[in-house]
C-alpha cells in the first residue's frame, strides 16, 4: 500500500477521494459517487461527448489523444457489439498513479467506464489491470460485485433501461500489453503482441467490435468532468490541455510520491517545491520527465510547463507523467543500461528493429559500462537507437530508442569517461547504488 503525499499546489480532482475509504461503495456514494453516471444517462451520448470535448481532457496513458474526439470516432451503428476498455496495465517505469486510483477509488474507474459506454453505445466494459497489481485486482473485483449488487451494473442500470455488463481482467505480466491493441489481444486470450493499425480500435477493436480504450486515470477523471462540467474542468489546465494530471515523482527528490497538479505546472517547481528538491543535498544531473520512454532533460532545460505541447516543444514528452529525477552521483551510462534492459526484457519480439535493437543496445551498454567500451560504441549506440526510431511495429521501439538517443546526445562526455577500460567513475567514488529508486 502506497503512502499518500500532499502539497498545497495540488488541485485535487481525481485524487479528491483518496484516503477517504471510497473503495467501499457506500462511502463512494456519500462522496458524490455514481451521480455522474446518472447525469450522463440524462445527457445522452451526444451530450456526454460534447462535455468531454469541452473539457480538453487528453489521454492520461501517455499519448495525450483528446478523449472526447476518441469517443466520437466510434460508429453509432455497428453490426458487432461495441466495447469500453479500461487500460489499467500501468507498467511504465517511474509511473505509479493508476494503482492509487485502483486502490483508493476503484468505483471512479467503473463509473468513468460506464459513462464512456453510454457515450458510445457499448453494453460491455472491461477493466484490465496489470498482472503484478494482484492486490488491486481483488479490490476491483469487490467494487464490481458491489456495483452489481446495487443494480448499477448489469441489466437496466439505475433503472434507465440501459444494459451494461462490467468485467475485470488481470494481465499476465507484460509491459507491451499497455499498448492498446496488444491489450486487446491479451484480453482475447492471445499472445500480447500489437495489432496492425488501421483499422483502429474505435472501428475494429476487441473481438472485432468498435472499442473505446482509455487509461484508468482518464476514465477516473470522467465522472468529475460530468459533475463539474467540461468547461470548468478545462479551466484548471492550460490551452488544449484541460484539467489536472497525476505526476509520479520519483528518484533523488526529498519527497517522492504521486501529486495531482494542473496541466501546465512548472517542471522546476514540481521538482524543487512539490518534491522538496534534490535529496541528500546533492544537485540535479538530469530528469526523465515522462516515464522512462522519453529523452531526458538537463538542469538548464527544466523551465518548462508540464503539458503535452510544451514538453513536445522542449524535445521530450509528457508521457505517463512519471518524473524520474537523477542526482549528480548517478551514472548516466548505468541508467541508460538499466533503462534498455527493461525494454529488452519487455520487447514482445514481434518486429525485428525492437527485438534485435533492444538486445544489442543492452549487450553493448552492459559491456560498455563494465569497462569494455570502444570509441565507436558511442556512435553505434546512437546509430542503433536512431535506426529503431519510427521503424518499429509499435511505440515500444520508440520508447526504447528515445531515451538512449537523449543520453548519448546530452551526456556524451560520461560515455567517453567509461572508455579505454576505465571503471565507471561513479562506482569508483563509492556511490553504493547510483540507480534511482522509484519510491522510498
Amino acid at each position: 500500500m502506497a503512502t499518500l503525499v500532499s502539497h498545497p499546489d495540488e488541485v485535487k480532482v481525481v485524487t479528491s477521494r483518496l484516503g477517504k475509504g471510497a473503495a467501499s461503495i457506500d462511502r463512494y456514494l456519500e462522496l458524490d459517487g455514481y451521480k455522474a453516471v446518472r447525469k450522463a444517462l440524462e445527457l445522452g451520448a451526444d451530450g456526454i461527448i460534447n462535455e468531454m470535448k469541452a473539457s480538453n481532457l487528453r489521454g492520461r496513458g501517455g499519448a495525450g489523444f483528446p478523449t472526447g474526439m476518441k469517443w466520437s470516432f466510434v460508429p453509432k451503428e455497428s453490426a458487432k457489439p461495441k466495447y469500453v476498455l479500461c487500460n489499467g496495465d500501468e507498467s511504465e517505469p517511474g509511473t505509479c498513479k493508476d494503482r492509487l486510483i485502483f486502490e483508493h477509488d476503484p468505483h471512479a474507474v467503473i463509473e468513468g467506464a460506464m459513462i464512456a459506454a453510454i457515450a458510445t453505445g457499448a453494453h460491455a466494459a472491461y477493466i484490465y489491470i496489470r498482472g503484478e497489481y494482484r492486490y488491486l485486482l481483488e479490490i476491483m473485483q469487490k467494487a464490481i460485485a458491489d456495483a452489481y449488487a446495487k443494480g448499477f451494473a448489469g441489466k437496466n442500470i439505475f433503472g434507465s433501461g440501459y444494459d451494461l455488463e462490467v468485467y475485470w481482467h488481470g494481465g499476465a505480466g507484460a509491459y507491451e500489453v499497455g499498448e492498446e491493441s496488444a491489450l486487446m489481444e491479451s484480453l482475447e486470450g492471445k499472445r500480447g503482441v500489437p495489432r496492425i493499425r488501421p483499422p483502429f480500435p474505435a472501428v475494429v477493436g476487441l473481438w472485432g467490435g468498435p472499442t473505446v480504450i482509455n487509461n484508468a486515470e482518464t476514465l477516473a477523471s470522467v465522472p468529475h468532468i460530468m459533475l463539474m462540467g467540461g468547461a470548468k474542468y478545462a479551466e484548471i489546465g492550460v490551452e488544449r490541455n484541460g484539467g489536472t494530471r497525476l505526476f509520479s515523482l520519483s528518484g533523488h527528490v526529498e519527497r517522492p510520491g504521486v501529486y495531482e497538479l494542473p496541466l501546465g505546472y512548472s517542471l522546476r517547481k514540481a521538482i524543487y517545491e512539490v518534491g522538496g528538491g534534490i535529496a541528500n543535498g546533492r544537485t540535479l544531473k538530469a530528469v526523465v520527465p515522462g516515464g522512462s520512454s522519453v529523452p531526458c532533460l538537463k538542469p538548464d532545460e527544466i523551465d518548462v510547463a508540464l503539458d503535452f505541447d510544451s514538453m513536445m516543444k522542449a524535445g521530450t514528452m509528457l508521457g505517463s507523467g512519471g518524473i524520474v529525477v537523477l542526482d549528480d552521483q548517478t551514472c548516466i551510462v548505468k541508467f541508460a543500461l538499466r533503462t534498455i534492459q527493461f525494454y529488452r526484457h519487455e520487447s514482445c519480439g514481434w518486429c525485428i528493429p525492437c527485438r534485435e535493437g533492444t538486445d544489442w543496445l543492452s549487450k553493448s551498454l552492459k559491456r560498455f559500462h563494465a569497462g569494455g567500451g570502444v570509441a565507436k560504441d558511442i556512435d553505434n549506440l546512437r546509430y542503433l537507437a536512431e535506426n529503431m526510431l519510427g521503424r518499429t511495429f509499435c511505440p515500444l521501439g520508440d520508447a526504447a530508442a528515445m531515451p538512449i538517443i537523449g543520453f548519448v546526445k546530452k551526456f556524451r562526455e560520461e560515455f567517453e569517461a567509461h572508455l579505454d577500460g576505465r571503471p565507471c567513475p561513479f562506482e569508483k567514488h563509492g556511490a553504493p547504488n547510483a540507480l534511482p529508486v522509484l519510491s522510498r
Binding site: E176, R191, I196, E356, W360, L384
Partner: protein, 771 residues
C-alpha cells in the same frame, strides 16, 4: 459475389500506376515491376508487418509505412527507394545479421537465402557489433523437420502456413523479445502432417529437412519440373538431382516456383517420399528365373525370354491364354501402348488394372447428362464444395488445401456427407453422417425422398439441413469419394448437374484416372469405347492363371499378389513383372524387368480431376528402363510392326540416350528446325510424344494442346462426349488401396522417409494394400 472491380490510380516513384481498390501496396508495386523487399509478407497468408523491410514513404504520412499492410488509395504518392528507406532496410538487416550465424558456407539455404539476397542488395556488409551472438542449440522436431534457432529471423511464415494453410497449428511462438523462438505447440515434437511446408516457406536456413540438410549446394543440382508420382492430385514438383555413381540421385522436391495447379503446395509424400528411387532394394538389372532362382541377366536375354514365351503361348493356346495387368503409376503413353500391344499383337482383351475408383461409371454418368468435370483449377476457384465420402486431407492433400484456401480467403462454403469423420469436417458449414455403403441412396434423399434417410442410416434432420443448403448452391464442386460407385454416381451426378455443379471422382494414384481413360479394361478401350469381345477382368484373369487357363501373365507396375490369396495365380503361369522392387508379385516372376519411375522418364499422367500433365525426366538409375521402351522392345522381339504400335516418322533413329533427347521430354530441336523448313521430320519410336499425339487424336476428351502441355500447363480432359450407353458398370471390381498421408503403395513401402514419418505417427504403410 462478382463485384465490379474499382481501380485506383496512385504514384509510385514518380510513375503512375493503377491497381484494383483494396490491393496491398506491395502487391500493386510487384504487378508493376517495382520490388519491395519483405520477409514476413507472404501472399495468401495473414499480414504481420513484423519484419519492417517493406517500409515505404507515403506522402502526408509522418512515419514510414509498411507496404505489406497498406492498401492502395486513390492519389496516394509513394516512394519506395529513397535514402531514408534504404537506410531503414539496411539497418534492419544489420540487426538481423548481428545475431544470425554467418554459417552460409554450410547452410542449406546458402545460395537461395532471402537474407543473403537482401544483404547483397542493401549492402549491410559492415559489422558494427562486437558483442557475442546469442546461441541456442539445434532441435529435431520430427523425422523430417529440424530447427536451427539462431538462424531464425522470426518472420512467422512457418507458423502461418502450418496454422492457416494446413489447418494443423503445430507451430507457435514461445517466449518473448530476444528470447522468442518458433516451437512446436505440443511438447518438443511436431504433431502434424509432416508436409514440410514450414521448411519450404522458410526464407533462411532455420528450418531444414532430414532429406536435404548438409547434402548439397543448391547450384550443384539440376532442377527439373515434373509431376509428383504419389497420389492422384498431380502436383507439379521441382526435382533437384545430383550426379551419383549409378546415374543420378534425387535430393529434393519442392514447388518453390509456385508453378502449376498446386501453387507452392506439396504434402509429405511429394516433398520427402522420393527416396524410394535410391533404395538399396531397387532392382537395377533384369532377372531371369533359373533353377527356381532369380539371377541377373542382360536386357537382351531377358527380353528374348519374354518374347519367346509370349510367342509360345500365343501359338499353342492363343491370345486368350495371356493376361496383362497394367498400372496406376505408368504414363498414359505406356498404358495406351500396353493395351494396344496386348489387343493388337498378343490378341488378348484379358487386360485390367487395380481399380481405385469407379471411373467407367463416372464417365458414363457424366456423359449421360452432359455434366462437367471439375479441373483442379476449378476446385481452386470454387466458392462452394460438397464432399461425399473419401478423406480429402488424407488422400487428396492438394484438393484439401484448395478447399481450405477457398474457405479462408473467400469464405467459401464446404458441405460434407460422409460415413466417417475426416479432418476437413471442422471446416464444413454443413455436415451429415450416413451409413457406410449407403451412398447409392443419397441421391434419392437429396431429390426429396425423406424416407431414404432411414435407408442411409442418417439423422434425417441433420442430413435435411445439408440438403437444403446444397440444393440451393449453384456452382458447387462435388467431390465424390471412391466409395461412391456404380449407379450412385449416375444418380448423384444427375441430381446436381441441373444445379450447375462440376464433379470430381477421387482416385488414389498418380495415374489411376489415366489408366482408366487409356482403356486398361477387358471390356473398354481408350476413351471408354466398348470392346466387342471382352476379356477377363483382373480377378478372373488371376483365377484363370491359378487354374492354368491363362498361361502367361504380364504385370506392368502393379502388385496384385499383395491382395490375392491364391499363390498359384503367380507361380503357375509364365510371369513377367516390370517394377522397381521385388514386391510380392515381383519376387515370383519368371522374368523381372527393372523399370524406371515417373521422375526418370517422360510421358503424361492424368490426375484425379482429369488434368493431363507432362512428366519431365529428372534423372535415372543405370540398368533400369522406362516401361514404354520395355514394352516396345518385347514387341519388336516378337516380330511386331513397331511402326504400327508407335507411328514414328521416317526411319528409326537412335535414341539419344535417356538423359537427353526424346526421353528427357525436351523439345526435339531438329524436328522444330525441319518443320520450319517444310521437311518431314524423323522421329524416334521410343519417343512417347508420338503416342501422345495418337492419344490426343483418337482418345475421346484428350484433344489437348500439346504445346501448352510441353510447357507445363495442365490440360483438362473431358468425359462428356463419351458414348455413355455402352459403358457397363462393375462397381464390385473397385477396391481403393486406402493409402493415407504417410502411405503410397509400393513406393511408400520403400521410402525410408515415409516409413520414418509413419512410424512416428503409428500408421504402418505395410498394412496398406500396395501396388
Amino acid at each position: 459475389m462478382a463485384e465490379a472491380t474499382q481501380n485506383v490510380t496512385l504514384t509510385v516513384n514518380g510513375r503512375s500506376i493503377t491497381a484494383p481498390k483494396g490491393t496491398l501496396l506491395i502487391e500493386a508495386c510487384k504487378q508493376h515491376g517495382i520490388e519491395i523487399p519483405a520477409f514476413c509478407y507472404y501472399p495468401g497468408l495473414s499480414l504481420q508487418g513484423a519484419c519492417r523491410m517493406c517500409l515505404v514513404e507515403i506522402e502526408k504520412m509522418p512515419k514510414m509505412q509498411t507496404a505489406c499492410t497498406t492498401p492502395v488509395a486513390e492519389g496516394m504518392v509513394v516512394q519506395t527507394e529513397t535514402e531514408k528507406i534504404i537506410q531503414a532496410r539496411k539497418s534492419t538487416l544489420e540487426l538481423l545479421l548481428a545475431n544470425h550465424p554467418l554459417d552460409c558456407p554450410v547452410c542449406d539455404a546458402g545460395g537461395e537465402c532471402e537474407l543473403q539476397d537482401m544483404t547483397f542488395k542493401y549492402g549491410a556488409a559492415e559489422s558494427k557489433f562486437i558483442d557475442i551472438k546469442s546461441h541456442r542449440d539445434e532441435q529435431q522436431w520430427s523425422p523430417v523437420v529440424f530447427y536451427d534457432r539462431p538462424r531464425c529471423i522470426l518472420c512467422y511464415r512457418c507458423v502461418r502456413v502450418c496454422g492457416e494453410g494446413m489447418d494443423v497449428y503445430a507451430l507457435g511462438i514461445q517466449n518473448r523479445g530476444q528470447g522468442s523462438v518458433i516451437a512446436p505447440n505440443m511438447g518438443d515434437k511436431l504433431d502434424c502432417e509432416e508436409c514440410g511446408q514450414c521448411i519450404d516457406i522458410c526464407p533462411v536456413g532455420a528450418l531444414t529437412s532430414s532429406s536435404y540438410r548438409y547434402k548439397t549446394r543448391p547450384w550443384e543440382m539440376k532442377h527439373v519440373g515434373t509431376v509428383c508420382t504419389h497420389c492422384g492430385d498431380g502436383c507439379l514438383t521441382t526435382v533437384g538431382v545430383r550426379r551419383s555413381e549409378n546415374g543420378s540421385e534425387i535430393v529434393r522436391c519442392d514447388n518453390r516456383d509456385r508453378s502449376g495447379l498446386n501453387d507452392d503446395f506439396l504434402c509429405v509424400k511429394g516433398r520427402f517420399g522420393f527416396d524410394f528411387g535410391a533404395s538399396p532394394e531397387r532392382v537395377t538389372t533384369p532377372l531371369i528365373r533359373r533353377d527356381g532362382k532369380l539371377v541377373a541377366a542382360t536386357w537382351n536375354e531377358a527380353i528374348s525370354v519374354v518374347a519367346e514365351n509370349f510367342q509360345r503361348v500365343l501359338s499353342t493356346s492363343g491370345g486368350k491364354a495371356i493376361g496383362v495387368v497394367g498400372s496406376n503409376h505408368t504414363t498414359n503413353e505406356e498404358n495406351y501402348l500396353l493395351q494396344k500391344f496386348a489387343r493388337g499383337v498378343l490378341g488378348t482383351n484379358n487386360i485390367d488394372h487395380h481399380r481405385t475408383a469407379d471411373y467407367p461409371s463416372f464417365a458414363r454418368a457424366i456423359a449421360a447428362v452432359k455434366a462437367e468435370t471439375a479441373s483442379t483449377n476449378d476446385v481452386a476457384a470454387a466458392n462452394a464444395f460438397l464432399v461425399i465420402g473419401g478423406d480429402l486431407s488424407e488422400q487428396h492433400p492438394l484438393l484439401a488445401w484448395h478447399v481450405r484456401t477457398a474457405i479462408r480467403q473467400r469464405a467459401a462454403r464446404l458441405y460434407v456427407i460422409n460415413s466417417s469423420e475426416t479432418k476437413l469436417d471442422r471446416k464444413a458449414i454443413g455436415k451429415a453422417h450416413i451409413g457406410p455403403g449407403s451412398e447409392a441412396q443419397l441421391a434419392a434423399f437429396l431429390g426429396g425422398d425423406d424416407m431414404a434417410a432411414m435407408r442411409l442410416g442418417a439423422n434425417a434432420e441433420e442430413l435435411g439441413a445439408v440438403r437444403d443448403k446444397v440444393n440451393a448452391e449453384s456452382g458447387l464442386v462435388v467431390m465424390l469419394g471412391a466409395e461412391v460407385r456404380g449407379h450412385a454416381l449416375d444418380a448423384l451426378i444427375a441430381h446436381f448437374t441441373p444445379r450447375g455443379a462440376k464433379f470430381v471422382l477421387l482416385g488414389e494414384y498418380a495415374n489411376s484416372r489415366g489408366a482408366a481413360d487409356m482403356g486398361l479394361f477387358p471390356d473398354l478401350g481408350p476413351g471408354y469405347k466398348k470392346i466387342d469381345a471382352p476379356g477377363l477382368d483382373l480377378k478372373h484373369t488371376l483365377e484363370a492363371a491359378a487354374h492354368g487357363t491363362v498361361e502367361a501373365l504380364w504385370v506392368v507396375g502393379a502388385n496384385p499378389a499383395a491382395n490375392m490369396a491364391n499363390p498359384a495365380a503367380f507361380t503357375r503361369p509364365f510371369l513377367v513383372v516390370q517394377d522397381l522392387f521385388l514386391t510380392e508379385t515381383g519376387a515370383q516372376a519368371d522374368v523381372f524387368l527393372p523399370a524406371a519411375f515417373a521422375y526418370e522418364k517422360t510421358g503424361t499422367v492424368t490426375n484425379t480431376c482429369g488434368d493431363l500433365q507432362r512428366l519431365k525426366k529428372a534423372g535415372d538409375v543405370s540398368g533400369t528402363k522406362p516401361d514404354f521402351e520395355i514394352i516396345l522392345r518385347i514387341a519388336e522381339k516378337m516380330g511386331a510392326d513397331v511402326n504400327a504400335l508407335v507411328p514414328f516418322r521416317g526411319q528409326t533413329v537412335a535414341d539419344q540416350g535417356q538423359s537427353r533427347g526424346v526421353q528427357s521430354g525436351e523439345a526435339d530441336r531438329t524436328s522444330v528446325f525441319n518443320a520450319a523448313r517444310g521437311v518431314a521430320s524423323r522421329t524416334s519410336p521410343l519417343d512417347p510424344t508420338i503416342t501422345l499425339e495418337e492419344i490426343a487424336g483418337t482418345v475421346t476428351g484428350y484433344a489437348a494442346s500439346l504445346l501448352e502441355l510441353a510447357t507445363g500447363v495442365a490440360q483438362h480432359t473431358t468425359l462428356v462426349q463419351i458414348d455413355a450407353a455402352t459403358i457397363p458398370a462393375h462397381p464390385e471390381l473397385v477396391s481403393p488401396a486406402g493409402n493415407g498421408l504417410f502411405a503410397s503403395g509400393t513406393m511408400g513401402r520403400y521410402s525410408a522417409a515415409l516409413k520414418a514419418v509413419a512410424a512416428e505417427h503409428t500408421k504402418s504403410p505395410e498394412t496398406v494394400g500396395a501396388d
